[in-house]
Structure formats: structure tokens, C-alpha cells
């Protein structure tokens, strides 16, 4: 679609795009339409890189619109330094479905690693939405898997930060929550225990609960296996110490 196959012709004039100006004979109406559609559906990457757009910049946009249903199919800003695109909707759906299907397991691991038990699904949903919205800016500079992990990791971190802070704030309102009946609940113990661990220990412990091997943990966290084994044995000791009487 981008940088390979020729651009499809303008639906109004039938001319094809030369990449520098409108190929549509009705330049004024095309420019107006471009401006309107630009405002109606701003492309995040473009808006970030090229805002604010003046009328001459808008006039450099080559627009292809599906006139029959009024939907924008493709919008290319013809800046030679930093070309960007709005991905074709069908292509976007295909990439999304494929990536999610391929990385579903890791999506779960990231969600469990960064959210409390009752928010796993929320985080998973957040990541999916963030990935869906970010796909418009995917420019094939890295593999789609790397792009997905980048999005997932950053979204998870943001979620964790907000969630942790919101919980701390709520606890200041309700300082003594009553969990009498849950005192012996292993999942509550996990939550309690995880809250006492530092950043990396938290992740190691969660990956251990997820039944990942040390080799897989090492690949996911970028920490040596020997280091992970030491950490894990220390965490096990701490856990034993804390929950000996339960």
C-alpha cells in the first residue's frame, strides 16, 4: 500500500497522484474536503509532527476519499522527510487480529504482571485499545511484534502507576478494610505479598506464578538466569517467613 504499489486514481477526476499536489482537477473542493476531513479525523502522528497545519500544508495533502460513503480511505501527507499514512482499515484489522492471536499469551503475562487480580481484564483491554489506536502510526521501522510489546509495556506501566496511586488514595479514605473471610485466601496473600516487593522482584514473582521457566523469565526481563534464581530463592524465603502461620 505504501511505498510499493501505485496509488489508486482520484475517485472524482480519475487522475492518479504524482505525490506532490492534487491530481484531482477540482483542487479547491478537494482542498476544502481535505481540510474538513483532516479536522474530522486527525491522524495522531501527522498532528504531532506537522501541526499546526496551514492552508498551504493542507493543499499539499493528497486525499483519496471514498465518495460513495464519504469515508476517508487513505490520507497521505506528501512531506518527503517524514512521510506518514493512515493505514487502510482492512489492513489495520488484519494486522491487529494477527498480532493479538500471536501474542495472546504474552498479553496475559503482561496484564498479570502489572495489575492486581481484579484488574487483569481491564489492563488487557487497555492494551488492546492502545494497540488498536497506535496501529495508525506504525511505520514498519520495527517488527510489528516489537511495536506491540512497546505499546503493551508502556500502557501497562501507565496503568500500574495510576492504579497503584488510586488504591493508595482510596486506602487513605478507608484505612481498615475488613477482609476477615479472605484472611486465608491464597490470592489475597499474593496481592499482599506482591505489594511488599520491589519492581523487579514483583515481576519475577509474578512470572514464577505464571509458571514460566527461568530461561523464559530471563528473556522477558533481560536479567541473567543465575540472578533470577537467587532473587527467586530470596522471595521464597520472604514468603515462607511472612505466611508461616497461615
Amino acid at each position: 500500500m505504501w511505498g510499493g504499489s501505485p496509488e489508486p486514481p482520484c475517485p472524482r477526476s480519475g487522475h492518479s497522484c504524482d505525490g506532490t499536489a492534487f491530481s484531482c482537477s477540482d483542487k479547491k473542493s478537494a482542498a476544502l474536503r481535505a481540510g474538513r476531513l483532516w479536522r474530522a479525523a486527525p491522524h495522531e502522528g501527522c498532528a504531532q509532527l506537522h501541526k499546526p497545519l496551514c492552508i498551504t500544508q493542507i493543499a499539499q495533502i493528497f486525499l483519496q476519499a471514498d465518495v460513495t460513503n464519504g469515508l476517508m480511505l487513505q490520507l497521505i501527507y506528501t512531506d518527503k522527510k517524514e512521510p506518514c499514512r493512515v493505514i487502510d482499515p482492512r489492513e489495520k484489522e488484519r494486522l491487529f487480529a494477527e498480532t493479538i492471536a500471536r501474542n495472546n499469551r504474552w498479553l496475559g503475562v503482561i496484564a498479570r504482571n502489572n495489575a492486581p487480580i481484579d484488574s487483569w481484564q481491564d489492563l488487557e483491554q487497555e492494551i488492546k485499545i492502545a494497540f488498536w489506536e497506535s496501529l495508525d502510526t506504525y511505520r514498519e521501522r520495527s517488527s510489528l511484534g516489537t511495536f506491540f510489546f512497546s505499546v503493551a509495556k508502556n500502557t501497562a506501566k501507565e496503568f500500574r502507576r495510576k492504579n497503584h496511586n488510586a488504591r493508595k488514595r482510596d486506602e487513605s479514605f478507608y484505612p481498615n478494610p475488613v477482609f476477615v473471610e479472605l484472611d486465608r485466601d491464597p490470592l489475597r496473600a499474593v496481592e499482599e505479598f506482591r505489594a511488599t516487593l520491589g519492581g523487579l522482584d514483583w515481576q519475577v514473582f509474578t512470572l514464577y506464578l505464571d509458571d514460566l521457566s527461568y530461561a523464559e523469565m530471563s528473556a522477558a526481563l533481560g536479567v541473567e538466569e543465575a540472578n533470577l534464581r537467587k532473587r527467586m530463592s530470596r522471595i521464597k524465603e520472604q514468603f515462607k517467613e511472612k505466611y508461616r502461620d497461615f
Binding site: 504531532q48 487480529a97 493479538i100 497506535s134 491464597p186 499474593v190 497461615f246
Partner: protein, 201 residues
């Protein structure tokens, strides 16, 4: 309680939450939720803008050209303060809406820091430059309308209480909500800086 027992409970919970789902169903669900989120955001913003404009309009209707100068000046200052507060918060919400989670971790965290810093700056700016002048404008407006001295004192008390309440809320929001996140982000950025320093050339 044994760790293995905990691990088994975790696995059971995991199996309950996560199971293979048809990617097409996930896609449809995600698209629907993303669109709903946009719709909700726009609806919220439009409601806020309309409510704000309605309140400002109601207040502006109180303006009398032939009225006392003090009252008109007070009303104008108050309207201006409130309008700037409304405008600032609406613009900031639109600005903060944009997120770039595909950026490298360090850049993303720096972007998050900018967002939190912008929210903190807005709160501080609102209190310092807009809220207090707006309430002073309110007092001047009412005093200019030549109410009795008792009435003016009561209005000053009400304005002071309102100012104190809003000020307390802003402080609480800063202390409990924004500053801890900012500190957390700063710690993370510090970690990035240290790790890049300790990395061999």
C-alpha cells in the same frame, strides 16, 4: 500457607480469566470500546463546555451598563477568571488525550511527566491567577450593588469559605493524586539516567 498452593490458586484464577478467544471477536470488541471511549470523551467535553458557557451566560446577563462601576468591574473580572479556568481545563484535556505508547520507554515516561506537570501547573495557575481574582471580583460585584454592610460581610465570608474549600480540594488533589505520580515518574527517569551512565561505552 505454601507457595505451591498459592501458585495453584493463581493458575486456577488465570484459567478462569484467560482463555482462547476468536481474534475477530476481540477485534470487534476492541473497536467498539475504542469508539465508545471517544464518544464518551467528546460527550463529556461538550457537556462541560456547554454547562460552563451556560453559567457564564447567566452571569453575563447580570451585567448592567448603567450599573455602578465597581459592580461592573467585579463582574467582568469574575467572568474573565471563570472563562479562563474553563478554557484552560478544556484545552488541557484535549492536549492530554494524545498518547504515544509506541515510543521508547524513556521517552514515553518523559511524556507522561510532561502531562502530569501540565496538570499540576494548571491547578496552581487556576488558584493563583484565576480563582482568587474571580472570588474578589464576586465580592466587588456584590459590594458595588450597594447591599447592606451585613450582607457584604456575609458574602465575603461565603466567598472566603468557597475559596478555602476549593483551595483545600486542589491541595488534596495535588498531594494525593498528582505529586505521588510525579515522584514515581521522577524515580523512574532517574533510574534510566543512572542505567545509561553505568552502561559501558
Amino acid at each position: 500457607m505454601e507457595l505451591e498452593q498459592v501458585k495453584a490458586a493463581w493458575q486456577r484464577e488465570k484459567a478462569m480469566y484467560f482463555h482462547e478467544v476468536d481474534p475477530k471477536a476481540i477485534l470487534a470488541d476492541t473497536k467498539q470500546k475504542a469508539m465508545k471511549r471517544h464518544r464518551d470523551f467528546n460527550r463529556q467535553q461538550i457537556t462541560q463546555i456547554l454547562c460552563g458557557l451556560f453559567c457564564l451566560g447567566m452571569l453575563a446577563a447580570e451585567y448592567r451598563r448603567e450599573g455602578p462601576l465597581l459592580a461592573n468591574a467585579g463582574l467582568t473580572v469574575m467572568l474573565l477568571g471563570l472563562a479562563l479556568m474553563l478554557g484552560g481545563s478544556v484545552i488541557l484535556k484535549y492536549r492530554l488525550r494524545v498518547s504515544h505508547p509506541w515510543l521508547p520507554e524513556k521517552e514515553f515516561v518523559a511524556e507522561e511527566r510532561e502531562k502530569i506537570a501540565a496538570r499540576i501547573a494548571l491547578l496552581r495557575r487556576n488558584v493563583k491567577w484565576f480563582l482568587i481574582p474571580a472570588l474578589l471580583g464576586f465580592v466587588a460585584w456584590q459590594a458595588g450593588l450597594a447591599h447592606s454592610a451585613k450582607m457584604v460581610i456575609a458574602l465575603v465570608v461565603v466567598a472566603t469559605l468557597a475559596c478555602a474549600g476549593i483551595f483545600w480540594f486542589y491541595r488534596w488533589k495535588l498531594r494525593k493524586d498528582l505529586l505521588p505520580i510525579l515522584e514515581d515518574i521522577d524515580r523512574e527517569l532517574e533510574y534510566f539516567r543512572n542505567s545509561s551512565k553505568s552502561r559501558p561505552e
